[in-house]
Point group: C2
Amino acid sequence: MFRALDDRTRRLVLDELVARDGQTLFEICTTLVTRHGVSSTRQAISQHLAVLEDAGLVVTERRGRTKIHHFDGAPLATIAARWPTSREDTP
Amino acid sequence: MFRALDDRTRRLVLDELVARDGQTLFEICTTLVTRHGVSSTRQAISQHLAVLEDAGLVVTERRGRTKIHHFDGAPLATIAARWPTSREDTP
DNA sequence: TTCACAGGCAAGTGGTCGCTTGCCCTTGAG
DNA sequence: CTCAAGGGCAAGCGACCACTTGCCTGTGAA
């Protein structure tokens, strides 16, 4: 999961899915190109989505011949559970 | 900072600093070897600490000829600020 | 002052990552 | 049925990363 976050494009994909949940692959491609300055092939985005998916940050849902992508922030909780995020350890 | 988290050894270093704050380089090396199964050179750990330091996750403090390392979880807050960690977005 | 200790700098190397290219499979529309 | 749309699989390539090796710089103790 930490590897999934270590990429600017993947973080932008997460941003986009948080902004508009339930997008398809092509929608993500176009919004990434237009809104953010990302110019990548469809395959690149597809591989990024695969990494995000098996990191648990993105859950997919087949809908006919399209594939809907949803954001899931649950894995991020392991970060806050592992290290103290702020000054709350020994006050 | 995301790159700093994308490494098992660096995450273990953070664990060690959370467990016992204010260790030197050699202390971190020995505790990493004894407590966790890490076998790395001193140079490797030094480079890891450098990455963690300029990610802001570790702050150093020169004390004579030794260097004390402190953990700082403040940069982790940017993660929770950027994406919803749990189901709190649109309830 | 002298010397051992804690740490830093720099180059080289094997491995992994991100991206591209090319081809294929499944599904819904006509 | 026919065929184009949405997406997946796999190989190849360039670039970055983690680690090692070797040498060097300050600093405190004897």
